[in-house]
Amino acid sequence: MSSEVRFIETRAARSLVAIRFSHVTKTYRLYKNDRARFAASFLPGVKYDEVKADNDLSFVIRRGESVAFLGHNGAGKSTALKIITGVTTPTEGTVEVHGRVSALLDLSAGFDPLLTGRENLILRARLWGYASSEIDELLPEITDFAEIGKFINQPMRTYSAGMKARLGFAFASSLRPDILILDEVLAVGDRRFSKKSLERMQEIMSRDGITLLFVTHSLSSAEKFCKRALVLDHGALAFDGPVHDGVSFYKKSVA
């Protein structure tokens, strides 16, 4: 078994390919309980079940494409996005990622509950590589968009789910990444906010060269933003083509 993930961040490279998956398999080992998992890190021969979240997945996404990932729960969409984001590694296969990735992987958006909204934003922007002056410019824009108001100086444990999600979306979409990954996050907030985030998405899409990966169960928003769809089924690629065909393929598989 061999696996490799290469993150190529130099903008000079400006590859035509944004993401390349070659025979990527991600295997999760399921042990009977935590004790068995712990024992397995020292001892050979501890029993476990294997689940292949992604199974021999290969595809290429070109720069500037907008791709919807469709599939049932457990089809391997989120695992694939996590591999692209770099928070988990494939068990086998190679992955190339060209450019900087900004990802919103879930509604809590990876914020620290003990820090205030402002501290969280500063920390995240630092980790992203922004200098203090750039952060000063970015912060008001993000907080305005998220409509957090005075709560920005309160610890995030006091935020409602909607506030966290709005701040997460505002942050991820303000970073000007090369690749933007959104996992089931557009359903947040009230109608007004979701209208606003749809507009923000359209504005992002109109920029040159940004690649969008989009997991959603809302087929209409997939059709709205994406030109291409990948349908996953049990970790394998079941369909790859224009989004309208992908949506009808997916609808058929549900029926």
Partner: protein, 269 residues
């Protein structure tokens, strides 16, 4: 193994600018919500030292000046490294659960988490050392040439406990039992390791041998060697070389654990 070492070092080098920022954030999280805030970082240890001094010197009347230095000064000098070590034993062994969002929500090298967590508590340790040194100067306790051992010791202590964190945190991420076990060991270590008494006065040979492999004993003894007891560490070769041997073994174990479990941590949290 060697490859894991270079990866850990490279990750830390590439993210060195963020380590400071994250260390300050860690401290901020600790003092959040308290009116006195930052004062508590130093007040808690001070109260602790005061209580032990009262119980042992005033209450039990067991303590006498050690090597001509008032017991409270001698006690405080040993306690200062203990507080750092205590934080690293309990908190440092569980940094991946504490910072799970850095592990599985953002792309962040997990080996760096131990570094900044250690750095945060190391800042408190350095502040405490400055206060101790100032107290010694004010009370006209002589500070001798042996104190030049301090900077080297401090650096070794920082790295030792970061390596400890690299070794234990993946195991704690896999098993809460493991972390509970480590936390349960913290209190016995405090009482057994010579933080409140002089280990060299225990005249039992096998105890001396066992304690030579106890890192808490090593750091407490060596801090007092530099500030109170006035000797060079190589004058106690057993303590020094047993510690160094153990450090190497722990480093190898930590690299092995990082290599085997490093990629698994994100999947289990």
């Amino acid at each position: 193994m060697f490859r894991t070492l270079t990866e850990v070092l490279r990750d830390n080098w590439e993210w060195r600018h963020q380590v400071g920022q994250l260390a300050i954030t860690e401290l901020r999280k600790q003092v959040r919500g308290a009116v006195l805030g930052w004062v508590w970082l130093l007040a808690t240890p001070a109260v602790f030292i005061g209580v032990f001094w009262f119980a042992l010197e005033i209450g039990l009347r067991t303590s006498t000046p050690v090597h001509g230095i008032p017991y409270i000064v001698w006690l405080a000098v040993g306690m200062v490294p203990w507080f750092y070590m205590s934080d690293m034993i309990s908190g440092g062994s569980n940094v991946y659960r504490r910072y799970s969002y850095l592990v599985n929500r953002l792309r962040f090298p997990i080996a760096v988490i131990s570094s900044f967590y250690g750095a945060a508590h190391f800042i408190v340790f350095l502040l405490s050392t400055v206060i101790i040194a100032a107290t010694m100067v004010l009370t006209r306790t002589p500070v001798t040439v042996y104190a030049v051992q301090l900077p080297v010791l401090a650096i070794i202590m920082y790295f030792f406990w970061v390596v400890w964190s690299l070794l234990t945190s993946p195991l704690s991420a896999l098993s809460k039992d493991f972390h509970n076990l480590v936390k349960a060991l913290s209190l016995p270590l405090f009482w057994l390791s010579g933080t409140i008494f002089d280990m060299s006065q225990v005249q039992i040979e096998w105890v001396q041998w066992v304690m030579a492999f106890n890192p808490v004993t090593f750091f407490v003894t060596s801090y007092r060697a530099a500030l109170c007891d006035h000797f060079w560490l190589w004058e106690r070769p057993r303590l020094l070389f047993c510690f160094l041997g153990m450090f190497v073994v722990m480093l190898l174990l930590a690299l092995r654990v990082q290599k085997r479990l490093g990629t698994e941590v994100a999947d289990v949290l």
